[in-house]
């Protein structure tokens, strides 16, 4: 095993190589992305016109729930863990991850978790139907009988994430090449280090929440049942204590990716490196003290409501600093627009729009009208899709030549970008209007005045969905038949240790640590 990969299926089952595991994470997450995307297509097809055409309301609820769970836990999070596996050792000059056997385990339990979750679709009672936020008592007393599979699946996902995070922290803290001080680390490594700490802090809280559910359902406790002295609102506090850091877990590594791509194609170093690090850390800190802004309607005392409003508004400051830094990096650079850069620029624009709507949502009095409406759906898709998914796509285009030694088709990449960008905005921009006009989220059917924008949104969703198939085609074509490249540095302006090794990256890199000055 010292020189090259083993042959056959054993290579993948027993591998402890960070590149193999990274590859498996990325393919797994893409498969989940297609599955979650398929659920989204079912949802948008049903909402194409008022009335129930394709599915029934109870199945619609299963679709929205599974879409959310699969996208958050199956697609986005593993995608960034995959990128971390591939890139962090190469970026810090380490030969592999710190705990390679645990790395193998943390990947291989994931397919089981999702197989368990997906199998509920075919069981009596159906898949989870209580939304990805699974508020009690809808998810406890009133849950379908398959809820125990869901709980077990969440436990496995949590274990996988925690192991992955421990591995990343150990790698970053213990395995950096000599001379690579913390404040010399690439931004992607920084954002992941902070994310990993967030994960270790909050994934156990999610595990606690589902364990309490499990006990309420099966063992007669009443954590969330008012009859026995519990409180359904407690569930929401516990869930969002996990849930709000969770959304930053998703977006922080995306910030890291963008902080690599924009300097490369601006041919200019990242503006404000240290302020980027501090901004990331303060966003992570603030994420712990704002959770109840998801609960402005549950009936909090006005003091609590004001506190959570002010604290949430504060997040705008470090986030804005990041956007200003990216724009300043581009300012007076020497810009070219290859596919990764197009996705990165779209990220900055669309994420900023998502940030604006986030600020609006933070305003507790106007949240009376936004809360649980399509305005929220539009907001979080602007930050999750245009944020996390766009940056993930950008990352794949950016590092793919390094990974497989072949160049993707630039024209096809640009076409895919424009279809994605246009499709995305047609899908989600009208959802702001729907929400403001009064359409609640998670509605299987709607009143007639919402017909027009829903139809447009659905058309956009089909366009956006199709663009992902083009993405898959482009990636597979590149791996099979892309133009070979062998320069260590694929991009003129690229900086960092990963661009000093051979292309394609050999199976083992940095067996002797490089010297960082």
């Amino acid at each position: 095993m010292a020189h090259g990969p083993a042959k056959g299926i054993g290579r993948w089952l027993f591998t402890t190589n960070h590149k193999d595991i990274g590859t498996m994470y990325l393919w797994f997450s893409f498969a989940m992305f297609l599955l979650g995307g398929f659920f989204a297509m079912v949802i948008r097809a049903e909402l194409f016109q008022p009335g129930m055409q394709i599915i029934r309301p109870e199945f619609f609820n299963q679709m929205t729930t599974m879409h959310g769970l699969v996208m958050v836990f199956g697609a986005i999070m593993p995608a960034f863990v995959g990128l971390a596996n591939w890139l962090i050792p190469m970026m810090i000059g380490a030969p592999d991850m710190a705990l390679p056997r645990m790395n193998n385990l943390s990947f291989w339990i994931l397919p089981f978790a999702f197989a368990l979750l997906a199998s509920t679709l075919f069981m009596e009672g159906g898949a989870p139907n209580f939304g990805w936020t699974f508020y009690a008592p809808l998810s406890t007393t009133y849950a379908p009988s398959t809820v125990n599979y869901f709980i077990f699946g969440v436990h496995i996902m949590g274990a996988s994430s925690i192991m992955g995070s421990i591995n990343i922290i150990a790698t970053v803290l213990n395995m950096r090449a000599p001379g690579m001080t913390l404040m010399k680390m690439p931004m992607f490594v920084w954002t992941w280090l902070i994310t990993a700490f967030l994960l270790i802090a909050v994934m156990p809280v999610l595990a606690g929440a589902v364990t309490m559910m499990l006990m309420d359902i099966n063992f007669g406790t009443s954590f969330f049942d008012a009859a026995g002295g519990g409180d359904p609102v407690l569930f929401q506090h516990v869930f969002w204590f996990f849930g709000h850091p969770e959304v930053y877990i998703i977006i922080l590594p995306a910030f890291g990716v963008i902080s690599h791509i924009i300097p490369t194609f601006s041919r200019k170093p990242l503006f404000g490196y240290s302020s980027m690090v501090y901004a990331t850390a303060s966003i992570a800190f603030l994420s712990f003290i704002v959770w109840a802004h998801h609960m402005f309607m549950v009936g909090m005392p006005i003091g609590g409501e004001l506190y959570f409003m002010y604290a949430t508004m504060l997040i705008a400051v470090p986030t804005a600093a990041k956007v200003f830094n990216w724009v300043s990096t581009m300012f007076r650079g020497s810009l070219t627009y290859e596919t990764p850069m197009l996705f990165a620029i779209a990220f900055v624009i669309l994420f900023t729009i998502g940030g604006f709507t986030g600020l609006m949502l933070a305003i507790a009095p106007s949240d009376v009208q936004y809360h649980d409406s399509y305005f929220v759906v539009a907001h979080f898709h602007y930050v999750m899709v245009a944020g996390a998914v766009f940056s993930g796509t950008a990352a794949v285009y950016y590092w793919l030549p390094k990974w497989c030694g072949r160049m993707y088709n630039e024209t096809m990449g640009k076409v895919q970008f424009w279809i994605s960008f246009i499709g995305f905005n047609i899908t989600f921009f009208p959802q702001h209007f729907l929400g403001l006009a009064g359409m609640p989220r998670r509605y299987a059917d709607y009143a007639l005045q919402f017909s027009d924008w829903n139809m447009i949104s659905s058309i956009g969703a089909f366009i956006y969905g199709a663009s992902q198939l083009l993405f898959m085609f482009n990636v597979i074509r590149t791996i099979k038949a892309g133009t070979p490249v062998s320069e260590p540095k694929t991009w003129e302006g690229a900086e960092g240790l990963e661009w000093t090794v051979a292309t394609p990256a050999p199976y083992h890199t940095f067996s002797t640590p490089p010297e960082v000055k």
Partner: protein, 382 residues
């Protein structure tokens, strides 16, 4: 035109055509293509609208500034235009400025937001109280201190939802009995739920509040304009989440008082009606209406339920078994399941009609006849 071209043409045209036909149904409705929130008819909804617009315009101005600089450098600093990259990567002054300016803007936003929030919370000195209870999937309105309470359920027929009949103008926004309120009166809403969490949202009133089992929330409205206002349940509450609308009919004060008087008389009349004896046909006819309104959401119109979730009623042990057991489950519900206690929700006539209907429809030919008086006696423990 070739067949394939025609099909393609039809495919593209179909949405456009259906938009046009929907347009006719909504010709008078200004809400089509709405892009912003309603200003509403209460002081709170107006305050919310104002703060929403303030924040919106601040965001637009910031957006123009940030994207302006960005688009300028995207255009002017292109490599293809011969731009040579500068090498600066720090500027402490700039970084301080763009931390301080957003912070100041936030303070500017926080001031009106705080005062708007204070008015949202100001439930004191209300002139009347309405208790709102969320059920799977309907609302109950109770005029506290007046002994008037009724359920408000969706009346849009199944045929419209499943596209076998054309959709009417207020598709999914019409209910059996609207909540009737007086104009220019401070009304306090006490909001709770029976089973799972719901959320009572009426955009025109600027009111949204979660209805949580075991907890009573409060909010309020002072409605300036008489009229009909429509809202929705905003918190996922199961399969009927999209099918429990809110309709409020706001009357001038005198009209409201007249309505309330009439309503009280009606309540007494319904109680009287419970003593009458009905024929099987009468009960079956009434039963079908009441069943489809109150039971079919779970047990389905055809009585077959949803396997594994909601039990079927065709030839089941309850519907063809002992009448007492049937009465018990309908009137008292079943703990730990979604089966509610309908004894307090429906009149004796409706309960008797539903039970009779269930025992004789879909081939359950028991021939049993349950009279309202039987239900009343059962309720009184006889």
């Amino acid at each position: 035109m070739s067949r394939r071209a025609r099909m393609l043409f039809a495919l593209v045209l179909a949405p456009v055509m259906s938009l046009a036909s929907m347009g006719q149904a909504l010709a008078e409705d200004a809400q089509r293509w709405a892009v912003n929130m309603p200003k509403g008819v209460t002081p709170v909804s107006n305050a919310i609208y104002d703060i929403h617009m303030i924040i919106f315009w601040i965001c637009v101005v910031i957006g123009i500034g940030v994207f302006g600089v960005m688009f300028y450098s995207m255009y002017a600093h292109r490599k293809s235009r011969g731009a040579v990259a500068a090498n600066f990567h720090e500027n402490t002054t700039a970084e301080i400025v763009w931390t301080v300016i957003p912070a100041l803007l936030l303070i500017v936003m926080a001031i009106p937001a705080t005062s708007a929030l204070l008015s949202v919370y100001d439930t004191a000195e209300a002139e009347m109280d309405i208790k709102i209870t969320g059920y799977q999937w309907k609302w109950q309105y109770e005029y506290l201190g007046e002994d008037v309470a009724y359920m408000s359920e969706l009346t849009t027929p199944e045929e419209e939802i499943y596209n076998t009949a054309p959709k009417s103008q207020y598709y999914l926004q019409e209910v059996s009995q609207a909540l009737v309120l007086p104009a220019k009166t401070k009304v306090r809403f006490l909001i709770t739920a029976k089973d799972v969490i719901h959320s009572w949202w009426v955009p025109d009133l600027g009111v949204k509040k979660d209805a949580i089992p075991g907890l009573v929330n409060e909010t309020w409205a002072y409605i300036e304009e008489p009229g009909i206002y429509r809202g929705e349940c905003a918190e996922l509450c199961g399969k009927g989440h999209a099918f429990m609308p809110i309709v409020i009919n706001v009357l001038e004060k005198e009209e409201y008082n007249a309505w309330l008087g009439k309503k009280k008389a009606e309540v007494a009349a319904v109680r009287e009606l419970a003593k009458k004896t009905f024929t099987l046909d009468e009960l079956m006819a009434q039963g079908e209406i009441a069943y489809n309104r109150s039971c079919a959401a779970c047990h389905q119109i055809n009585g077959e339920g949803i396997p594994g979730v909601f039990p079927g009623m065709v030839g089941s042990a309850i519907t063809v078994g002992d009448v007492k057991g049937h009465l018990d489950i309908v009137v008292n519900g079943k703990s730990g399941t979604a089966m509610q206690a309908f004894g307090g929700q429906l009149s004796e006539v409706d309960l008797a009609a539903i039970i009779t209907y269930e025992r004789n429809a879909w081939g359950n030919a028991t021939g049993d006849l349950v009279q309202p008086i039987d239900v009343l006696k059962f309720k009184q423990g006889q």
